[in-house]
């Protein structure tokens, strides 16, 4: 029983950064912008969060530092793609390379230093519930934030006027412009939100998942988050399914490797990717729903004629 709880808790920790980065990118893509720089924003978030926490001695200020760093990098992306109308795919890829390079330079002096781990916050009463209390209500603040984010984004996108406006911009930028909706302004805000989320996801890696700084510590999680958004057909609740499935198989295969079932370890390492893809492909079989949820102007440059 205790072992099961321990394993599930690690699953939550592994899934949280993916969930946060993916939910941020989901908002960006719903507004019609494709930011492939998630990996770069995440890794910058991780190193800046670690450095800020070390300098101030407070991991919570570290979190804020990570968020700010991710948002700053996304602002650069927004200026390039939205104001200067550069190609979104190329700019996003460049952003990833920039983030990886910059994080190496910033983090040079922090390699090998033990980090400050975010402490779990026990929620009174709820954490006393057997089993679930241990899994869900004795976590650090970023895990709680991740759930708040999914709930908040779902509510925002589908229950508020601002969310409707954002979705309309992603569906048809020209129609939105004709109706007098400020396409560029909305996209700026969405991109900044996505950057902040990626920064937060990075902070979770260097302050909670493995409290230390290792170069390139995101290890492709930004790309997984991007894939999750597409496979989840741009729906927030499905992102949870994808992120947790990925986390679960990641942890599961680690234990399987330790037990040594005679399965090649390379295959086991590939398993999380494979399993996530298969499951998300299966749940997005309904082509009509997928089509309705796909932001039709995704990645298209927008230049209003005036």
């Amino acid at each position: 029983m205790d072992l099961a709880v321990a394993i599930i808790v690690t699953v939550v920790t592994a899934a949280t950064p993916l969930l946060i980065a993916a939910i941020g990118e989901l908002v960006v893509e719903r507004s019609g912008v494709l930011n492939l720089g998630v990996e770069g924003m995440m890794v910058i978030g991780a190193v800046v969060a670690f450095a800020t926490a070390q300098t101030t001695g407070d991991p919570y200020i570290g979190i804020l530092g990570g968020i700010a760093a991710g948002a700053f990098l996304s602002l650069l992306f927004a200026v390039l793609t939205l104001t200067l109308v550069t190609n979104q795919v190329a700019t996003g890829l460049a952003l990833t390379l920039l983030g990886l390079g910059m994080s190496g330079a910033i983090g040079e002096g922090y390699v090998g230093i033990p980090g400050i781990k975010l402490q779990a916050i026990e929620i009174p009463l709820l954490s006393d519930i057997p089993f679930f209390g241990d899994i869900l209500f004795k976590q650090d603040i970023i895990v709680y934030l991740s759930f708040a984010l999914v709930a908040g984004v779902t509510w925002f996108l589908f229950r508020t006027r601002a969310g409707l406006t954002l979705r309309s911009v992603g569906d048809s930028q020209n129609s939105a412009h004709t109706l007098g909706i400020g396409v560029i302004r909305i996209r700026y805000l969405a991109v900044l939100f996505g950057g902040a989320c990626a920064g937060l996801a990075g902070a979770q890696l260097s302050l909670a998942y493995t409290p230390q700084w290792v170069e390139n510590m995101t290890a492709g999680r930004g790309w997984i988050a991007l894939a999750l958004v597409v496979f989840a057909s741009w729906r927030p609740l499905r992102v949870i399914v994808g992120a947790y499935l990925f986390g679960a198989v990641t942890i599961g295969q680690l234990h399987a490797q330790a037990l040594g079932f005679g399965i090649p370890s390379q295959f086991l390492s590939a398993l999380p990717y494979l399993a996530t893809m298969i499951v998300l492909v299966i749940i997005s079989r309904d082509r009509r729903l997928t089509l309705v949820n796909t932001p039709a102007s995704l990645g298209q440059p927008f230049v209003p004629d005036r």
């Binding site: 409707l164 569906d171 129609s175 939105a176 412009h177 109706l179 007098g180 082509r287 089509l291 309705v292």
Partner: protein, 536 residues
């Protein structure tokens, strides 16, 4: 009235009904420049309450530019606008809506992935509850005879209904002026009549309507006043009730439009050049229409037209005939008796067929390629000598481009431009000319004159008839009934993926086609019988 230079020169008088409505929106001396081109040159127009005001002109005459300026979507370079006598600057569509100006767009400004209610909510100001709005939509739309299901997703709806959403969205803003850009081009005759009823009711309530249409009969029937534009200038104002469609067309073009001449076809005993035999095809996407057991023969020497409201399977049928989509059986499509149902589009072109799709920019021509390159795209595999052992003969393609430019009067600012720089009407002349130049044995053309002005449309139609009379088979898919009656020897109607039997054009009436379009084959049959007994 008739306060115009050109009208006095040509001696035309344009006296008409006295315009009594209050002056609502007045535009004076509006000028708009795009680069070197003057799209609007000192344009003045005044719109009055209770009046349907037609705005007429050829493609590229500057109508859309003017309308966008009135709606705040474009900024003029000069000129003034006054609303109820007060000078105003309309700097955005939101501002226009605040004043009370609503617009129904030609190219729908709807969001396909959103519901009807969400689409309408986006255009309304302030806080609102979607549930209350849904009730209101249901009520108002039924009240005006344009019923809507507020929960439906736009992507699932046919164009006629989408048009309704645009109109109801506009009505809910309670506008004092409604601008309508080609509202009837996607409607059945019955739907158009319904729309005219709604317009009449709106003007009775004191609303002003600015109405853009290429359908001059319609303008003459419902409009109280008309402003005619040519090359960016207002050339004439008149009362359309005192004009004929031909005189209106003459004012638009500045010259007489040649009547289309059509000798009777002698095709009754001709051989089938294109035959479609029991063709069925499942829907190939969530928003596509399945085709159900379609039979059709087009003989040498005749023009057969397929009428129908957009989204009833025309695009799917075109794809299967052209080979963009293969049929299940080779003998479902026959060109000159040869089964080609399992062959691709190039094989069918080599068999003597040519195709002009509906969407000219993006499907019929690649926007970023030069015209000569676009010629190679449809003719590289047709033994026209444009490709020699795998290499393109660009010189020859450029010669062909010059020939098309001359033969089909394609107007362009400089030689061999990119396809996207041509205006809609000119590009249409180019894509049609490219195929006609091959002198195809079978021509299948979808929406030959969509958005093309009267002069260019007449020349395209004449060329289609001439091609048929020279021994080819021509199949035209169109939503424009005037066009169909002008050129077709036989007419079939497509509705929800089913095609009615093609019948001689003389035996068809608008009413009957309208019923067939709506899928009321039974009633249409009765209407025909009724007429027959009446005639007897």
């Amino acid at each position: 009235m008739g306060r115009d230079t050109e009208s006095s020169k040509s001696g035309e008088t344009a006296a008409g009904r006295l315009r009594t409505g209050d002056l609502l929106l007045q535009a004076h001396g509006i000028t708009k420049r795009f680069g070197d081109i003057l799209a609007n040159d000192k344009v003045s127009i005044d719109l009055r309450a209770g009046e349907i005001h037609a705005l007429l002109g050829e493609n590229g005459a500057g109508k859309s530019t003017l309308v966008k300026i009135l709606y705040g979507a474009l900024e003029p370079n000069g000129g003034t606008l006054s609303w109820n006598g007060q000078q105003v600057a309309i700097s955005s569509p939101a501002e226009a809506r605040k004043l009370g100006i609503g617009m129904v767009f030609q190219h729908f400004s709807l969001f396909e992935a959103l519901t009807v209610t969400e689409n309408i909510a986006l255009a309304l100001p302030g806080r609102l509850s979607l549930r209350d709005l849904a009730d209101k939509i249901r009520r108002v739309s039924a009240d005006y005879g344009l019923p809507l299901d507020p929960g439906a997703i736009v992507a699932d709806l046919p164009v006629g209904i989408r048009q309704r959403i645009e109109i109801v969205r506009c009505l809910l803003q309670e506008p004092k002026l409604i601008i309508m850009d080609e509202p009837t081009s996607v409607l059945t005759p019955q739907e158009s009549d319904q729309l005219f009823e709604t317009l009449k009711r709106l003007t009775d309530e004191g609303c002003a309507i600015l109405y853009i249409s290429h359908r001059l009969e319609e303008v003459q029937r419902i409009c109280h006043h008309a402003t005619i534009m040519r090359h960016g200038k207002v050339v004439m104002e008149c009362d359309p009730a005192l004009e004929t469609p031909a005189s209106l067309a003459r004012m638009m073009v500045g010259a007489d439009i040649k009547d289309i001449t059509r000798e009777a076809s002698s095709a009754t005993e001709g051989e089938d050049r294109l035959a479609i035999v029991d063709l069925s095809a499942p829907a190939d996407g969530p928003f596509s229409v399945p085709l159900k057991s379609i039979h059709l023969q087009v003989k040498a020497g005749e023009v057969v037209a397929i009428a129908g409201i957009a989204g009833n399977g025309q695009g799917e049928l075109f794809d299967v005939i052209s080979g963009e989509r293969l049929s299940d059986r080779a003998d479902a499509v026959l060109i000159d008796g040869a089964p080609v149902g399992r062959k691709g589009i190039n094989a069918r072109r080599r068999a003597g067929a040519a195709y002009v799709p509906e969407e000219r920019l993006g499907h019929g021509a690649v926007p970023g390629l030069k015209l000569s390159e676009n010629i190679i795209l449809t003719r590289h595999a047709t033994r026209d000598g444009l490709v020699l052992s795998g290499f393109l003969d660009r010189g020859k393609a450029e010669e062909l481009e010059k020939k098309l430019k001359a033969d089909f009067d394609v107007r362009m600012s400089h030689d061999n431009p990119e396809a996207r720089s041509l205006s809609g009407g000119n590009l249409q002349k180019f894509v049609v000319g490219r195929e006609l130049d091959r002198n195809p044995g079978v021509l299948v053309i979808n929406q030959p004159t969509w958005g093309v002005d009267a002069g260019a449309a007449a020349s395209i139609r004449q060329q289609l008839i001439d091609l048929a009379r020279a021994g080819s088979a021509v199949l035209v898919i169109s939503q424009d009934l005037d066009e169909i009656f002008e050129i077709a020897d036989r007419i079939a109607v497509i509705s929800r993926g089913e095609l009615s039997a093609a019948e001689a054009a003389e035996k068809m009436t608008r009413e009957r086609i309208g019923l067939l379009m709506g899928g009321h084959a039974g009633e249409a049959g009765k209407a025909a019988e009724g007429r027959a007994t009446h005639a007897a």
